[in-house]
């Protein structure tokens, strides 16, 4: 069965580009354009990997990240998360620490612009490791 990747980004171009990229490699793609939808899709689709943008409307990626730490979401807490954003890593960490007092422990942090090959390789590795 094909592995499932959830792409959560409010930029339709990023969603489109990543969809083509991963579908070509045989992955099944699920998309969400804001944080609330992301959480819904995680529950419904139980993806193998989440590619998460941080700055999204309504519920942002930080909140999604924080929700996944909640014991109620334990079932999905093992899903590897790749943060894909235009925000610098130290700035994101600083903000998350200010809001929650903790550091984000994602599996990878990629600053946009991203590299296709690098992303493909990373996704493959993370899904294999956690699978």
């Amino acid at each position: 069965m094909a592995h499932k990747i959830l792409i959560a980004d409010d930029d339709p171009d990023v969603v489109e580009d990543l969809s083509i990229l991963f579908e070509d490699e045989g992955y099944e793609i699920v998309v969400a354009s804001d944080g609330a939808e992301t959480l819904e899709k995680i529950e419904q689709e139980n993806p193998d990997l989440i590619i998460l943008d941080l700055l999204m409307p309504r519920v942002d990626g930080f909140a999604v990240f924080n929700t996944l730490k909640d014991p109620k979401w334990e079932r999905w807490s093992g899903i590897p998360v790749v943060v894909l954003t235009s925000v610098r890593e130290e700035v994101s960490q600083r903000r998350y620490e200010l809001e929650t007092g903790m550091r984000m422990d994602y599996d990878a942090y990629i600053e946009k612009p991203y590299d296709h090959e690098e992303l493909l390789e990373l996704a493959k590795r993370l899904i294999q490791e956690k699978g």
Binding site: D11, D13, V14, D17, I20, L21, D24, S86, K112, P113, Y114, H116
Partner: protein, 431 residues
Amino acid sequence: MASPSENQLDLNVMRDLFDCGEREAMKVLILDHITERLNLRGCLLVEFSPPISGSQPVIAAASKTSSIDWDDAPSFLSYLEEKYRGGETSFDIRLPMAREGGEVASRRSRLYAQLLPLTSGRDCQAVLCLLSNTPIDLDVATHESLRLYFSCLNWLYKQDLERLETERRLEKALKEIDLREKERNRWLNFFYMTTHDLKAPISSVYNYLKTVLRKSIDVLDERMSKIIERSLIRLDEVMDMIGSLLELTQLEDPRALEEFNELDLKEVLWGCMEIADSLAKAKGLKASVQVSRSLPGIFGLEKRISQLVMNLLTNAIKYTPRGGRITLKAFRREDEVIVQVEDNGIGINPQSLPRIFDEFYQAESSSEGSGLGLSIARRIVDMHRGRIWAESPLDAQGRGTRVSFALPLGWSSPLDEDYFDGKKPSDILNT
């Protein structure tokens, strides 16, 4: 003419005054001397503070030797305000000969007051009130004997005025700095946001083109795929430039200064050289290091220093043809640490040297890169209070470049000179 004994007393006054040093105490001391000398009930020094027209007068000092029950003070003060508002126009001591000895300062205690205004500029700064049980008659001799005290008081007020003027100017300058700082930050922010927002659309186009190229490789003719490849290269340059511009604005952020630390420069340099060595080898260059064993640590940002050194090393590698060599040197000279990156590459036209650290300046021979690398380097050196310079050519054939930067030793707080710690200008003058 003052008698010898009076001169002796004057000398004592001066000595007392200079000994006590405290300006408020000095005033009281002067009043005590006057009270004693003229055999008065007491003296008051009423000041208009700050010395501007219309300000409320206050009793600044009273002779300790006086024993006055000052029950009518408020009405007396407003009387003084009325009388001396506006005032005279000279900076000299003015000893009015006006006979005002008959004025009743306090109805209850039947005091008589002689009022002597002290003026400077346009304003009356203070009024010296001589208080006595009997009407005071100031004759020429008494006047003469008061001269010294007046000189002292006048000197004090002159200092006050100068100080006030300096404070005012400092305040104005600080406001100006603040305003400019705000304006600058506004523009930096605007610049940052604009540049940042260019990133997403450009990288989308870049990725789309890559996808087109990958998926249509069989249908595109050679010319078309070449066009797309060239587009990708150009977009790559734009993204590089955006990255450098963002980097430059981030370096302007004063918050970066808070993250300064003691750091082991030797370790940073070796770390950089490790990476540069493999890059150099790949290009067929010889890389060597000459770092002084006793190189002291510096105060700074490790990430930035290593970015700076890497920047210089990759430049050297880029502009040195196969078979050449690059050298990293570091040593202490007096109270500075000097780091040098040397190559025997194509060299720089000496006329271009002064400008190579400017934004977007590129020596005519090169076209690679955004032209921002060396201005980022200079900015990093600036934030570490150092200097950066370049020498070229290093040999008679016009080859070789040496870029050096010097970082000062012996400072450990990025804020120690540039900030006033939220103090008011008056506080600064006091320290």
